[in-house]
């Protein structure tokens, strides 16, 4: 008798039909669904099967201008005059409405972006709602947040968000802007516009005054229209370091404020006394969470030499159990790569990693025929100078290196222009804090990785950007002090 040594999971798909997706979406401007001035729409597709989900308005300068005018009118009108307490009540309402429709939102997030339903259900959507709920309470308490300062809102915030956490990033941007009394023009990423548009439905249902939140869809040129618009007071951008630098250059001769949350190449450091099995879970969560489409992903693995073989062996064993495939299946660990372009980028790096002498490991897994897929990938025999150890790949690709001493790993970990996040696995408190205090990163996880919370500030050092989102400190980004 042949024994099956590995459990096979029966499919457990979430019901796609629960998601109410319209055939076509217009911009959400001044509280109304507004067709694009150009009359053009573009398709948004399900990366899990390549099929069209809907089509959305392609925003141009005129659309952005209309949105900014609406935001300005709302700022100078009802929203600017409203008390913090009343503002907060609207934000609480939005949080509650999101919680009520959480299941539908999770499904749409997974359909449009390709992330596993387990993640959108347990992380993206509840965290997004919690962000509104947490931040709402600050609206009437700002004088306690910044002692001895009289703070004031900035005006109209232009917000541009990426495709890796579409709804969560919208929440991170909109909630603090509203709590601090600003109004918003937000552009979701072109490959994942749907949950932001569903959020617009909730915003309309909440009775938020018209024009306080405007959502304009489109690609890079729509984002550029926001960055260039003369009547925007603040730009909040999450995305690549390249685009972030371009934005900073573009607004250099204006008075616009900016917060930039950019790329990363986080070190995940395993010391010899770490709880190895837990560390392996942390490595997997660090890099394969959300297909590695995470700016703070633990994409550089540093293992102390004495436990190197054990960690790599256990990591490969764990990688073989990861389920890659249908994002709507509740068993899926790694969903679809967000777009064909991103898949090509990842494949280019995998190719480069091999050409530069890296040893590649990918577990055998059955991949669906249609859609964009990349199995979890591990590179060993990587050097500091390898491209895959230096550049952000934004995919499920991990580059492992070994080290001998703590000072050595600190200098290796910090040897990058990025500084968004880092992880340390170690059983000894004194050594753990030696590392956490010396790693140049805005978020450091000790014996954990990829944890997020609305009360916890997030943002980078160095070329990973500036400004914080979340927590008390995230409010400062939207206030004049």
């Amino acid at each position: 008798m042949k024994k099956n040594t590995q459990w096979e999971y029966a499919p457990a798909p979430e019901a796609a039909k629960i998601a109410k997706i319209a055939k076509r979406y217009d911009h959400f401007i001044n509280g109304k669904w507004t067709p694009p001035q150009s009359g053009n729409y573009f398709r948004t597709i399900n990366p899990g099967n390549g099929r069209k989900l809907s089509e959305v308005a392609d925003g141009n300068d005129a659309d952005v201008d209309a949105a900014v005018k609406a935001a300005r009118a709302a700022y100078e009108g009802p929203w600017g005059k409203m008390s913090g307490r009343e503002r907060g009540k609207y934000i609480y309402r939005i949080a509650r409405l999101m919680q009520e429709r959480a299941r539908e939102f999770s499904i749409i997030e997974t359909l449009d972006g390709g992330k596993p339903i387990r993640e959108s259900r347990d992380i993206d959507v509840p965290l997004a709602a919690n962000h509104f709920f947490y931040t709402a309470g600050w609206a009437d308490k700002l004088e306690y947040a910044f002692p001895n300062r009289k703070v004031a809102s900035l005006g109209v915030a232009g917000q541009i968000i990426p495709w890796n956490f579409p709804l969560l990033m919208a929440a991170w941007k909109i909630a603090p802007a509203l709590a601090t009394g600003n109004t918003v023009v937000l552009k979701p990423a072109e490959t994942t516009p749907l949950t932001a548009l569903k959020l617009a439905e909730i915003i309309a249902d909440s009775g938020l005054p018209e024009g306080v939140v405007n959502i304009v869809t489109g690609a890079g040129s729509t984002g550029a229209a926001i960055v260039n618009h003369p009547d925007i007071d603040k730009i909040a951008f999450t995305g690549s370091t390249g685009v972030g630098k371009l934005i900073q250059q573009t607004i250099a001769n204006t008075d616009k404020r900016a917060t930039l949350e950019l790329g990363g190449k986080a070190a995940n450091i395993i010391l010899e006394d770490a709880a190895i099995d837990q560390a392996v879970e942390g490595i997997v969560n660090g890099i394969y969470f959300n297909q590695g489409h995470v700016c703070c992903a633990g994409s550089r693995l540093f293992i102390q030499e004495s436990v190197y073989d054990e960690v790599i062996w256990k990591l490969k064993r764990r990688m073989r159990t990861l389920v890659v495939g249908d994002p709507l299946d509740k068993n899926t660990d790694i969903g679809a790569i967000n777009s064909k372009e991103q898949l090509k980028t990842i494949q280019k790096y995998i190719q480069l990693g091999q050409e530069q002498g890296g040893e590649m490991y990918q577990p055998k897994c059955k991949l669906p025929a249609a859609g964009n897929w990349c199995p979890p990938t591990l590179f060993t025999n990587v050097t500091q100078s390898s491209v895959i150890a230096q550049e952000e790949i934004f995919g499920p690709v991990l580059a492992a290196q070994s080290f001998r001493t703590v000072p050595e790993v600190i200098s290796k970990a910090n040897n990058t222009p990025y500084g968004l996040s880092a992880g340390v696995w170690c059983d000894k408190g004194a050594r753990l804090f030696q590392l956490t205090t010396q790693l140049e990163a805005g978020v450091v996880w000790g014996n954990t990785f990829n944890q997020f919370d609305p009360a916890s500030p997030f943002g980078g050092f160095k070329e990973s950007g500036f400004g914080r989102e979340g927590g008390l400190h995230g409010l400062a980004a939207y206030l004049e002090m």
Partner: protein, 291 residues
């Protein structure tokens, strides 16, 4: 017979030493009544680079020091300033101040040192946070120095404005390179003598004199400077440094020269990064008890 006065040679302050500019260049700014203030070093790109090296080297000594120790050193600066009141007043007068204004500026400067000495070990307590996350984690956010800071000192307030720029930077554990007022450089150089005798490790503060227009773009593009703090720049200059500093995303801080607002703990925060640390908390309880 009259005794001949010894004139002072004004030099730079780099890594705790007083070199001349490697370039051999000098300029002669005019003070009160058009009288030349002296042959002042006109720093070069290479002087600037040497200063950055010194500042980067000193960071590993200064940043991890106990905040209490930094506090004592800043207070010591106040003591040394107090002892040299007459010299600072005299130089301010040479640079064009009235006697009353010079006295007031020196007093403001001394009090500033004491003010920021006190903040060194307090801003963390006031502005850091323990964040009540929903999961079983201990989560806290603290401030850390951004690293090596370039500071373009105010052009007019040669001593108080200079200290108002400098003190928040070093109170927060950063090291820096300061470009002194081009027209009124004497106060900065004499301040270097105070710094050198205040137990401040060499390289924590480096002082250059010279031409703003020449050095600004070099500061802005230097890849090992983390932040650029500047006072009274023109709109064009601000736009230029913002653009030029994009290569390594320097934190740009623009101060408006306002001597009445030099005492401000938020000024310290402007050259700080916020680091958030997470660690799990075990929630299992022996014997299944509750607390």
């Amino acid at each position: 017979m009259d005794r001949l006065e010894i004139l002072k040679t004004y030099k730079l302050y780099i890594n705790g030493k007083f070199p001349r500019s490697e370039s051999g260049r000098y300029y002669t700014p005019e003070g009160r009544g058009g009288k030349a203030l002296g042959n002042i070093c006109q720093s070069s790109r290479k002087d600037l680079r040497e200063s950055v090296l010194a500042a980067r080297g000193a960071l590993g000594n200064w940043a991890p020091r106990a905040a209490f120790n930094r506090s004592q050193i800043l207070y010591r600066m106040g003591e040394m300033l107090e002892g040299r009141r007459a010299q600072f007043e005299d130089e301010l007068k040479q640079q064009g101040s009235t006697a009353a204004a010079a006295r007031k500026e020196v007093e403001t400067a001394i009090d500033l040192a004491v003010y920021y000495a006190g903040w060194c070990d307090k801003y963390q307590q006031v502005f850091s946070a323990v964040n009540p996350v929903s999961t079983a984690h201990f989560n806290f956010s603290v401030y850390e120095p951004v690293g090596v800071v370039a500071a373009i000192a105010p052009e007019n307030s040669a001593l108080a404005g200079l200290l108002g720029t400098l003190l928040p930077i070093i109170a927060g554990g950063n090291t820096c390179i300061v470009l002194a007022s081009t027209g009124k450089p004497l106060s900065a150089i004499t301040l270097a003598e105070v710094l050198a005798t205040s137990d401040l490790p060499g390289g924590v503060v480096n002082i250059l004199t010279g031409d703003r227009k020449e050095l600004l773009p070099i500061f802005a593009t230097h890849m090992d400077i983390n932040s650029l703090v500047a006072s009274d720049l023109t709109k064009t200059q601000i736009a230029d440094i913002k653009q030029a500093s994009v290569n390594n995303l320097k934190r740009i801080v623009i101060h408006k020269e306002d001597v009445s607002k030099l005492e401000d703990p938020y000024a310290i925060l402007k050259t700080q990064e916020i680091k958030t640390t997470w660690h799990p908390i075990e929630t299992s309880i022996a014997g299944g008890g509750k607390y």
